[in-house]
Symmetry: C2
Subunit: 338 residues, 2 copies
Amino acid sequence: MKTFNVALVGVTGAVGKEMLSILEERNFPVEKLIPLASARSRGKTVVFRDKKIPIQVLGEAHFSGIDIVLMSAGAGVSREYAPQAAEAGCLVIDNSSAFRLEEDIPLVVPEINPQAVYRDRVRNIIANPNCTTIISVLPLKPLHDHAQVTRVIAASYQAVSGAGAQAMRDLENQVCNYVEKKEPITQNSSHPFAFNLIPRIDKVLDNLYTREEMKLVWETRKILGDDSIRVTATCVRVPVFRSHSVAMTVETQHPVSRDTALKLFKGFPGLTVEDDPLNDIYPMPLYASGQDSCFVGRIREDISAPNSIHMWVVGDQLRKGAALNAVQIAELVAAEAQ
Amino acid sequence: MKTFNVALVGVTGAVGKEMLSILEERNFPVEKLIPLASARSRGKTVVFRDKKIPIQVLGEAHFSGIDIVLMSAGAGVSREYAPQAAEAGCLVIDNSSAFRLEEDIPLVVPEINPQAVYRDRVRNIIANPNCTTIISVLPLKPLHDHAQVTRVIAASYQAVSGAGAQAMRDLENQVCNYVEKKEPITQNSSHPFAFNLIPRIDKVLDNLYTREEMKLVWETRKILGDDSIRVTATCVRVPVFRSHSVAMTVETQHPVSRDTALKLFKGFPGLTVEDDPLNDIYPMPLYASGQDSCFVGRIREDISAPNSIHMWVVGDQLRKGAALNAVQIAELVAAEAQ
């Protein structure tokens, strides 16, 4: 079996850490692991397969001899280093938004468009989609194949993990301060996360949508390969640690009954149906955290319009929303090379 | 000035307590306050205008001589006691869902349909709408008057106060247990509130909507006096103490620009516009709590459909969502009697 030298850029971040453990968990054929981070992590180590490996500083290390680079250190870092790594012959799987919408860069959810990994690869960079998009697009795919999705209205309930490891510590600290009757400290957001909702994620654009909302619009179309799908979203940060939830209204060309939707979702990889609200069974972020599957429930026909269906989707932002999806892309690449 | 003997049923609950302080705050012309609660509160007192008043036990006390009864002790209690009180000559303002949809019972948001207080009153019971409905319907009213609302798609982010005072203590305890690394205790819900989202509020109905969701459908139509408005909703409990938030998509017969919506909202009583997302100004439940106004922001034209507009509305569930609205109804009744 062919093995691979794998570099992990941003290994100390929330997603980077998760990538490290998922590579080990899924027994990815790693020959040599090269952990990379900023100069702040100089001298630190990570543990992989019970071995301590020193972190190398990005910009000082060479990409030569590396087969696959998993990159999760923000769009700025990706814009600078992904092309360098690709030129050195690495295959880059990039978790940032830097390249996602470029025409000659594949944007891949392995359960949906695995073929894009092979078909569209000219620049040796594959983009990992936005976390909320990955979680939302999974149930959209079988609906789209069956009945042609025409419009999606999404309201997201996004965990603080999406704002990074420091934001998760912020929520933790804010909650501790609350218990100790101290003022909440906000270090990594304009407003406190704890006991609050922040209806702005990422930059505000000219059309007054946030970038996070427009990512859902743009990336959903690209992943499903259909620019005719109209998508709109309101993205909101909620005081949950690491699973995103999305309330979705999906309008289709042809009618989809609840029973058909249930059947479609049950037959789709990466999705688990939890839909027995009478018995309090529905997807919840507290329980989705740490799991690989995305969970779909509260499936019901929309009483306000024909050919419209509601669902509630929940997935671990750090796993399927980011690290797991990236490693799954690496697995496709590895399988291709065997 | 005419003064009134006012009874408060459910005075120890989250809404009852708020009613008590709002009556005092707004200087409602109370002649005598009669606090009523279940036998569990026997021997307890409440403080009103710096005076301790003993709580009377509901079912043992008489309604004769009482002018106005504010009732907030659940639909079962209302069904039993509201007709008794009305028959004894009291005007009942009922916060439960017991009578809201009955044809000869007014369902009133004073900023929207104050005339219903006089026009439809035959049974001496006025119903206070559901909390999420009150908060959602405020911005709908000026949109409806201006451009005829045809369809509303709502996703709610509802505070635990909506589940009562004990649920608020549950969230508090769960958060303390988290900090102390203990298991969360769930006493008043099937699942923990803390760091979680529960996409079910109230009973599940045959169409697989929850009662809470259908309240929004039914009550919005009744308050706006237009059964042609199609409404759909997904209602979700979030770990926030006492303000509800709603992401709304509102489709209208005639186009409404963002500028027009801003103007309409700014001119509408009970609404405050907070809409400068670039500068991190948008409604948030942490700051809306304790306030009388409902806050609207993230106003933008929906890119997925013509004649559709998005907004994000936040209001204190215990104040405008319940106690304040009920006292405002009492104020209309009091003004009528002057």
